[in-house]
């Protein structure tokens, strides 16, 4: 029997949406308040969905301690209470939650081997959320 397991995590970070490829006016027009030079922050909620056959000796798709440990070590400790713009992965791309979803998906896809990664979903606020399930072709 195949089941999907979803776990929710929380982290807080700041960012500024600003593109070097745009003029100051264009940045302001595109990103509005999110272009404020000093940045601003969010309480993000991260949802990770994995799937797989339920192991009948444990009743589990994967041990939650393994998933929690991986996410804590590789994702939350990287992003929680950080300024996203200062991180290497956002040196060349704008730290929108779209791009953050792709980055976190890639971290899990590369490193978490205990179950199949189905989807990453991030709530930036209670009013908006973003989902990424991987690309059939290289993303960049």
């Amino acid at each position: 029997m195949k089941a999907h397991l979803t776990r929710r995590y929380r982290f807080s970070a700041s960012h500024r949406l600003h593109s070097e490829e745009m003029s100051a006016d264009e940045n302001r027009a595109t990103y509005g308040k999110c272009n404020n030079p000093y940045g601003h922050g969010h309480n993000y909620t991260l949802e990770v969905t994995v799937s797989g056959a339920v192991d009948q000796s444990t009743g589990m798709v994967c041990n939650l301690a393994d998933l929690d440990g991986f996410v804590e070590r590789e994702v939350l400790s990287r992003y929680d209470l950080q300024n996203l713009n200062t991180l290497q992965e956002f040196a060349q791309q704008v730290p929108t939650t779209e791009n953050l979803s792709v980055e976190i998906y890639e971290i899990l896809h590369r490193g978490f081997e205990k179950a199949h990664l189905e989807r990453v979903r991030i709530e930036e606020t209670m009013m908006n959320s973003f989902e990424y399930s991987g690309a059939a072709e290289p993303k960049r």
């Binding site: 029997m1 999907h4 979803t6 009743g59």
Partner: protein, 137 residues
């Protein structure tokens, strides 16, 4: 095709233990969940059915009937119960959220009229849930 979801809440206790494991192995795999006295959760169940809209009633399914089936097959059996000791599926299977979603699917699948079961989602806590779509593998 329209999808309709009905929620229900139930509270139950459980613990995780595999009699084929040594006590040390049980503790290592299941951690605090291995406490044989059990612990409890407020589970939230979401049952999603799918079907074409009946042109006369405008319904995919009679919600009253769906609610009754959920109460009879799931809540009457599991609400305020110790899953390991009182729900037959868990005399032999470990009552993880995965197995709970599968057991609830199996209880509902043959009891629904007209609409087809699409998904059973069980929240063990607001931060942990399992979806089962009836997939064998």
């Amino acid at each position: 095709m329209v999808y309709l979801t009905r929620k229900a809440e139930f509270s139950a206790s459980h613990y995780y233990h595999n009699p084929d494991f040594t006590p040390e192995e049980n503790l290592r795999v299941f951690g605090k969940c291995n406490n044989s006295h059990g612990h409890g959760h407020n589970y939230m169940l979401e049952v999603t059915v799918k079907g074409e809209v009946d042109p006369r009633s405008g319904f995919v399914v009679d919600l009253k009937q769906l609610k009754e089936v959920m109460h009879r097959e799931v809540l009457d059996a599991m609400d305020h119960r110790f899953l390991n000791k009182e729900v037959p599926e868990f005399f032999t299977r470990i009552p993880t959220t995965e197995n709970l979603a599968i057991a609830i699917w199996q209880r509902l699948e043959t009891k629904l009229e007209k609409a087809q079961l699409h998904r059973v989602r069980v929240y063990e806590t607001p931060d942990l849930f399992v979806d089962f779509y009836g997939e064998a593998s």
